[in-house]
């Protein structure tokens, strides 16, 4: 890649991020400013910041890559990522804000008064936070390697260092401004190139996305394979390829069938039908459940609600977030679709996550426009890594400083930030082969099977007890974590076990709810005595506060 605009664009995004961080630092004077932005952030800023924080590497790069690879079935990822905010709005937003809880462990203690549950929740926050941080750093490493040819660890460590320093020095106030800025940058970085790409597609005579003879190479292409795969060549030959193999194709050559990829037009274009594969339908519903219910359990999402002045503002902020996030998710699908036409070589190399950053130059050529747009997209991708990592790091550092180190001071928070950022940085160096989107999906599944039942039942059901909540989190969350560990460390599986482990939410979420309700009913005497006061506080408008 000889694009000399990419590195300056990435440096500029990083500098602006750090710059706004320091601007925020000058505003941050008290510990309260530092941690929760003094609750003085307007709903529009707050919503843009929540959106900026939420749109991660998986949203910016992963969705387009998945659409390129698998087609219509994976459109449930963007739908679910947006719908998660609706579930949050319906069941959690206003009562959680009224509870006054800053983190999930705070909520556990406020609602159930149990230290043990608080410790368990802390462990889950840290686990989910790190599980979600690693793919962000990994995405940064892969992107920098793709667009600038740097070694993989550089991008990962660069993002980890910038984010850790920024969060440690600026705190929450700083990242509110940083992330509001980054939401708009990410939206621009996908929206502007899409206009040029659509015009180019028109100028090329509207080439079909699914030509009757399958996808073809538009130009002579040399593909370097990154992942092991089985290819079926047009003449029927079957060929095993290994990482490092080079394949050369002339312009107009058909793209060979790749194992595990929907190369066939109908597989890609049409939803999975009943009968031939019920596992596909199960996986779809499992994905829907994980994304719809997982968002409310992500630690960096909940922290934001404390910055709203009251419950009604929390609700309105969530609605604005839903609109902002929904607008963004219209775009990655278009990149995946156009990638079928302009970058079919990614299907062979296995680097489908790179489609967003490679598409502008592949479609528009390496003239000035193509290079500038490629730089813009790369800058947007870096904004995604920086903002999501900042949000995750703030919340993980928050629980480490209050619950593990046991200090509420600014210095304690800074120490916690270094710990919270250091661990995933080290982990990301060792897992470069992991699939970004799948790890993010698993983080959603763990959140949906642990914190979602805890929040929903805690807010709406008087009968929840500390023992019931603990048992439910251990059963559902534990099962989901088990699935994560088997996926990451275990042997490759096939058939139903593979589906149940890769998309666990459809059985772990009902398990968590069932155990939580059943054990709570069995330990009814342990229900908190002050439950009526808690319900009053969670659900009545602030105007009536006595």
């Amino acid at each position: 890649m000889g694009n000399d605009f990419v590195v300056p664009a990435i440096v500029a995004v990083t500098l602006v991020t750090v710059g706004i961080g320091f601007y925020g630092l000058r505003l941050a004077r008290t510990t309260s400013d530092f941690l929760v932005a003094s609750r003085a952030i307007s709903p529009t800023w707050n919503a843009a910041a929540i959106g900026g924080e939420y749109l991660s590497a998986a949203s910016f790069l992963g969705i387009a890559g998945l659409v390129l690879k698998y087609g219509v079935d994976v459109l449930w990822y963007p739908v679910g990522f947006a719908a998660g905010y609706l579930a949050l709005l319906l069941f959690v937003a206003a009562p959680l804000r009224r509870s006054g809880a800053f983190t999930l462990p705070d909520f556990c203690e406020l609602r159930l008064g149990s230290r043990r549950l608080r410790i368990l929740a802390t462990a889950f926050v840290i686990f989910i936070g790190w599980l979600y941080l690693v793919p962000q750093l990994q995405g940064a490493g892969l992107t920098l390697a793709t667009v600038a040819g740097s070694p993989y660890p550089l991008g990962a460590l660069l993002v980890a260092a910038v984010v850790t320093a920024n969060v440690a020095l600026g705190g929450m106030r700083a990242i509110t401004f940083v992330q509001a800025f980054q939401y708009w940058l990410k939206l621009t970085a996908l929206a502007v190139p899409v206009i040029f790409l659509a015009l180019q597609w028109q100028a090329d005579g509207r080439p079909a996305v699914t030509p009757p003879d399958g996808p073809t190479f538009r130009a002579a292409t040399t593909v370097v394979v990154e992942h092991r795969a089985t290819l079926t060549l047009p003449d029927g030959d079957i060929r095993e390829v290994r990482p490092g193999d080079e394949l050369t194709f002339a312009a107009g050559d058909p793209v060979p069938d790749v194992s595990g990829v929907a190369t066939d037009a109908n597989d890609w274009l049409l939803p999975s039908a009943a009968g031939d594969d019920d596992r596909g339908l199960f996986a779809t519903y499992s994905l829907i459940l994980a994304t719809f219910l997982g968002t409310m359990g992500l630690p960096h999402v909940l922290v934001r609600f404390y910055t709203n002045p009251d419950g009604a503002a929390a609700r309105r902020t969530t609605l604005v977030v839903l609109a902002l996030v929904g607008a963004f998710y219209l775009l990655p699908t278009l990149y995946g679709v156009l990638g079928r036409i302009y970058t079919p070589q990614l299907l062979l190399s296995g680097q489908t996550d790179a489609v967003v950053v490679l598409l502008p130059e592949a479609a528009l050529g390496d003239g000035l426009a193509g290079r500038l747009l490629a730089a813009l997209v790369a800058a947007g991708a870096f904004a995604a890594f920086l903002s999501t990592s900042s949000g995750l790091l703030t919340s993980v550092a928050g629980v480490i400083s209050t619950d593990v180190l046991g200090r509420g001071s600014v210095r304690g928070f800074r120490l916690a930030t270094v710990i919270a950022g250091g661990v995933p940085a080290v982990l990301s160096l060792h897992v470069s082969g992991l699939d970004v989107s799948q790890v993010v999906g698993l983080a959603f599944a763990v959140a949906a099977s642990s914190f979602c039942p805890l929040l929903v039942l805690g807010i709406w059901w008087r009968g929840l007890t500390d023992v019931g909540a603990t048992a439910g989190v251990v059963a559902g969350g534990g099962a989901a974590i088990g699935a994560v560990l088997v996926t990451v460390l275990g042997p490759p599986l096939s058939g139903w076990p593979a589906t149940l482990i890769a998309q666990p939410a459809a059985w772990t979420v009902p398990l968590a709810f069932t155990v939580m309700v059943a054990v709570s009913m069995a330990t009814r005497r342990r229900a908190p005595a002050d439950i009526a006061a808690t319900m009053l506080r969670l659900h009545t408008p602030e105007a009536l506060r006595m």
Binding site: V72, F91, L281, L544
Partner: protein, 137 residues
């Protein structure tokens, strides 16, 4: 206080002050009732408890109803596409229907449901506030 006022009225024997006294008494009594309802909420008497339970039930029913709308509207799609594959082949403006429904239409749908929820939830809260502040209605 109320015992002193009749003394003034009886000694002066003037009708207008008596009339104003009744109005004052009514306002005072109204305030006391509103305060009593607030106090009932705070002290978790049975009346206050019932009021809060009613609000929680109304808000939960609203959230569940709207979830059901989404569960049917969006959650029904994979099943629908699975049992009626011809639906997936239907094209609108050259684009297959599932792509339009999932990639485009689902987002305004979600935002619309969210907007309806915010309006209705605020109305529930307003009803509750009215009930507490004007108990005579």
């Amino acid at each position: 206080m109320s015992k002193q006022l009749p003394d003034v009225g009886s000694s002066g024997a003037v009708p207008p002050p008596r009339r104003s006294r009744i109005v004052l008494a009514e306002i005072t009594r109204q305030d006391t009732r509103a305060e009593r309802t607030r106090a009932e909420l705070a002290q978790q008497t049975q009346v206050g408890e019932a009021l809060v339970r009613g609000l929680v039930r109304a808000q939960l029913a609203l959230a569940l109803r709207l979830s059901l709308v989404v569960a049917i509207g969006l959650g029904g799609l994979p099943w629908l596409f699975a049992i009626a594959p011809s639906l997936g082949r239907t094209t609108v403006g050259g684009v297959n229907l599932p792509w339009l429904l999932l990639g485009v239409a689902s987002f305004p749908f979600l935002i619309g449901v969210g907007w309806a929820y915010v309006r209705l939830a605020e109305r529930n809260e307003q009803d509750f506030t009215d009930l507490v502040q004007r108990p005579e209605r």
